[in-house]
């Protein structure tokens, strides 16, 4: 896959974040952007026909291990960010009675 295609995935997430009317959909768009970033980093370290970076056989071509070690961090932190955002969504629904951005902002101004 091309790095430009993965950047288009990040842009799709950005567009959804700017135009979505529902809070849950905004959380999904953050997840889409994160997936695009993971694919972009793994693409940069890719090598055609390369093996996984484990040195149990001699004389093999391996892919770059540095982006993979960085992306483990991204995956774990992304899951925690998603769980925190969803918990905040539940609390917003219990307090305001809706998860539409416009309704929540209007009711917040009134109170």
């Amino acid at each position: 896959m091309n790095p430009i295609l993965t950047f288009i995935i990040i842009l799709i997430g950005f567009y959804g974040l700017a135009t979505s009317k529902n809070i849950i959909k905004s959380v999904f768009c953050v997840t889409i952007m994160e997936t695009g970033i993971i694919l972009l980093f793994l693409n940069l370290g890719n090598l055609e026909g390369g093996m996984i970076p484990i040195l149990d056989r001699l004389g093999i071509a391996i892919v770059d291990p540095i982006p993979q070690a960085l992306m483990i961090t991204t995956i774990v932190i992304g899951s925690t960010i998603t769980s925190l955002a969803l918990m905040l969504c539940i609390k917003i629904f219990h307090h305001f009675g809706s998860i539409e951005w416009k309704v929540v902002l209007k009711r917040e101004d009134k109170s």
Binding site: P3, G45, P53, D64, P65, A69, T73, I77, T80, S83
Partner: protein, 231 residues
């Protein structure tokens, strides 16, 4: 009617500008990315870290400071979810979400068969993290999935969330202490504290087990908080 259309058009033009800049940056890829690091790890990685799996060698030895803060972020997120989801009214049990009448009997029986196999596979992935694909983070997620299947088998089981949070704090302190132990033996903080190449795997296995248990407990605590929230 017209103004939102103009807003979207402006947004699309700005995103197109971002894409154009990215394509320009990708034209000279040598400025963005090179594989000097890969050559260095291929030559010296096994000798300096004692780990066949280079990814484990990087995140437990060269970049251990980074991994410590990642474990800290997991701890902070778990305490944040706990704090946001606390209730004024005392909940009695989480049995309203998984109804015994609605869950098929076949599913429960197969969960009983699958649960020990998943637990053993998770611990295998954790302990063999320096030899084969895997490690603390991935194996911890598998162990957490095995613990969550327990909810299907026996609904009356309860988990003490406060105890889980205390255990996680103690594990994080142990991680920082083991990482800082190398300042005494080698003079550099946050690397491997064992000098002999034959015994370096002990350090990697210890840190992998600590991180694996920490990730499994954290994901279980987050799941329990969400289960209590539904009504």
């Amino acid at each position: 009617m017209v103004i939102p259309l103009i807003k979207r058009l402006v947004l699309l033009i700005m995103l197109g500008g971002l894409l154009y800049g990215f394509i320009l940056a990708m034209n000279d890829l040598e400025l963005v990315y090179n594989d000097f690091g890969k050559e260095y790890f291929l030559l010296n990685g096994l000798r300096e870290t004692g780990s066949l799996n280079l990814v484990t060698g990087i995140y437990l030895d060269y970049r251990l400071f980074d991994s410590l803060f990642e474990a800290g972020i997991l701890l902070i997120a778990v305490s944040g979810v706990m704090w946001i989801s606390q209730h004024k009214i005392q909940e009695k049990n989480a049995s309203f979400m998984l109804d015994k009448q609605k869950t098929p009997e076949l599913f429960i029986i197969f969960s009983r068969l699958l649960y020990p196999i998943m637990l053993v596979f998770g611990f295998y992935v954790i302990i063999n993290g320096h030899l084969s694909p895997g490690g603390g983070f991935q194996g911890g997620a598998i162990v957490a999935t095995a613990i969550l299947i327990l909810y299907y088998i026996d609904i009356t089981k309860t988990i003490d969330v406060k105890l889980i949070l205390t255990i996680e704090k103690i594990l994080f302190m142990a991680l920082v202490l083991i990482g800082a132990l190398s300042f005494v033996t080698t003079g550099h903080p946050f690397t491997n504290f064992i000098r002999q190449p034959e015994y370096q795997a002990i350090y990697l296995m210890t840190l992998n087990v600590l991180i694996g248990v920490k990730v499994a407990l954290g994901l279980t605590a987050i799941f329990t908080a969400f289960l209590k929230e539904g009504r």
